[in-house]
């Protein structure tokens, strides 16, 4: 998610990516030949997964008062550790800035990146950042927040109103595009960073503020009377956030991909942290439940094909629960940063999360 970092970081990132690009060019010829062994084996040998996180995003990754990391991104790391090592506590979290996250993967500083990273072509491709992305774990997108008593319910009703926005970001561009394509007039009120946008909105300088929906929700949970503000249904941009690993390492990429699919598939089948033991017993007793037996690793040897243990799904669900459980824990209605599930629902409930079959 590009807008997470403050705008000064953005400039630096541009500068750094230039330098990094040049350096990669320079060191390209001398770079050592790709080892045959995958990082997956290295992680198992090390008995520890190094996971790159942000550490500064409410609901996704943040520092708890006891010094531990919590959040949706963190739970994804835990799921990987449970699948690869079999122990979700064997994770080393490395706080990374937006600028250094891709270098950290390329240099092998971290094994996996679970840091609110938007899945884009140039990041995924070999000619770009050369990463490989796992399935999307959170569909973010730019949204609008208004005061409830303003009676505004849609983008159209914001015509001729003023909107607080961070300047020089894609956010500013998106809101402009949205209003222009609907040929509605509006007044942008620009601020340097998100905190100022929030302050301007609370002081009543504008009727609405715009940012990524996850950020709006996070900002709102800091308000004194959070119930008085609503996030509109309109979504102005696509920000699919996904975990990533080195694109050269197919084995690790595959394992990452199917661990996330396991989380989603478990939700589709109604397998939760609390009923996983019963489901395993059920599958053991009933040889005719073939799909379930394959999913839980009793038949088929699917885990081995990925270089994981066959029952990796059981280990993952036992530690983090399924995708829905993870979501509700950190972003659900009862949590401190409530974000309506929207696109992040399963495909059969109006969202876009779907898992390919475990065959």
């Amino acid at each position: 998610m590009a807008k997470i970092s403050s705008s000064d970081l953005k400039i630096m990132r541009r500068l750094v990516s230039g330098i990094v690009g040049m350096t990669i060019l320079l060191t390209g010829c001398a770079s050592p030949s790709q080892e045959n062994s995958s990082r997956l084996d290295l992680i198992k040998k090390r008995n520890e997964l190094i996971c790159g996180v942000s550490g500064k995003i409410p609901g996704f990754s943040f520092l708890e008062s006891d010094g531990s990391y919590q959040g949706l991104d963190i739970d994804i790391c835990k799921a990987f550790a449970a699948a690869i090592i079999g122990d979700s506590t064997k994770v080393q979290y490395r706080p990374l800035t937006a600028a250094e996250r891709f270098t950290a993967i390329k240099t092998g500083d971290i094994d996996l990146l679970s840091r609110n990273t938007t899945f884009t072509l140039s990041r995924d491709s070999l000619g770009g950042n050369g990463l490989t992305f796992g399935p999307v774990v959170f569909h973010d997108g730019q949204g609008l927040m208004v005061k409830k008593d303003s009676g505004i319910n849609s983008l159209e009703e914001l015509a001729n109103k003023s909107i607080c926005v961070g300047s020089g970001t894609t956010t500013e561009q998106n809101i402009n595009d949205a209003f222009e394509s609907a040929s509605l007039p509006y007044t942008p009120i620009k601020y340097q960073d998100l905190n100022q946008v929030v302050a301007g909105y609370l002081q009543g300088r504008c009727s609405a503020m715009t940012s990524d929906r996850s950020q709006l929700a996070a900002a709102r949970s800091g308000f004194k009377n959070r119930k008085d503000h609503i996030i509109l249904k309109d979504v102005l941009s696509k920000e699919p956030l996904a975990p990533a690993s080195d694109g050269q390492d197919q084995k690790l990429g595959d394992a990452m991909r199917w661990v996330v699919f396991a989380l989603i598939s478990a939700e589709e089948q109604g397998i939760t942290k609390s009923n996983i033991d019963k489901k395993v017993q059920l599958a053991n007793r009933n040889p005719q439940l073939k799909p379930l037996r394959r999913f839980l690793g009793i038949d088929g040897g699917l885990g081995e094909k990925l270089g994981l243990s066959n029952d990796f799904v059981v280990k993952v669900i036992k530690t983090t629960g399924n995708y829905g459980e993870i979501y509700n824990r950190h972003l659900g209605q009862e949590s401190e940063v409530p974000i309506p599930r929207g696109l992040n629902e399963l495909y059969n409930k109006g969202g876009v999360h779907i898992s390919p079959p475990f065959n």
Partner: protein
Amino acid sequence: MTNISISSIIIYFQKIRRNLSSNLFNTFLSLVLLLIISLVCLNTFEWLIFDANWKVVGSNLPLFAFGSFPSNEHWRPAIWIISLLVISIITLFGPKWKWLRKNLLMAWISTIPLGLYLLYGGFGLTPIMSRHWGGLTLTILLTTCSSLLSLPLGIVLALCRQSSLPLIQKLSSIYIDVMRAIPLIAVLFFGQLLIPLFLPVGIEIDRVWRAIFAFTLFVSAYIAEDIRGGLQSIPKTQIDAANSLGLNQYQIIQLVLIPQALRIALPALTNQSIGLFQNTSLMAILGLVELLGVGRSILANPEFIGQYIEVYVWLAFVYWLVCTIMAVLARHLEKRMTINPANF
């Protein structure tokens, strides 16, 4: 007795009156300013005492102090910080025992290996990786290690710049000029992002050490210039005198030049170390969870969202406190060195 004190108070008030309200306009201006100042103070105090929710600071004190250092090992960084404080107090109040005073410099230098041992562990303590270091501990570690490494490097660079050998002289001046022409943040970015790319696979320098090296390289250029100022203010005749006494090159540097140059450069060096302490906060945007970084991570905790002002006021206070301690120590040192320069 009372008469005198009363009259002195009256004189005092007359002085104030003369200064603040010599004519009608000045009186008006004074009153308005007084009103504004008292309003600001009142509001600030009201906020500090009633409005601010200090729970965000209170319940995260261990995080601010030690970062994510394992909680059952908190005593290790605590001992280190306390020992630093104790040595500061001893230095300030000038112990009567001569042996202690003599060993004070050694004590200061030994705090760094002590700190590293306590943080890293090993030799009987549980080893702890540097990724768990954080908070004030990490900030102080960055400052002390970088300043201890950059002082000798700075001295060497300053001496090289004064050297009569053209190659050495040119090289060190190029280094100093280049370092002073690059912004610190660029040097830090280089250390954090590019060094790992240059290193062959498998060789890894810890990010804390990468930061320390980057700070050292940067600060030593400035220290070199400060010391060069000190060196240049020493009259040439002293070198001639030392030569005629039969001292060799090294003895002249060690006994005549460096002590005097250091004394002259002390205020500037203090400036550098205080600046260095504050600049370590730049590491927060480069992914180290030092004091500022911990503050930013805590602000992402849904429980404390939006309490920016409390956290930043608290951080400002901590930075102010440490900087003040450093400044007071340096002033004390200056005083002692000027009172009795022959001692040095």
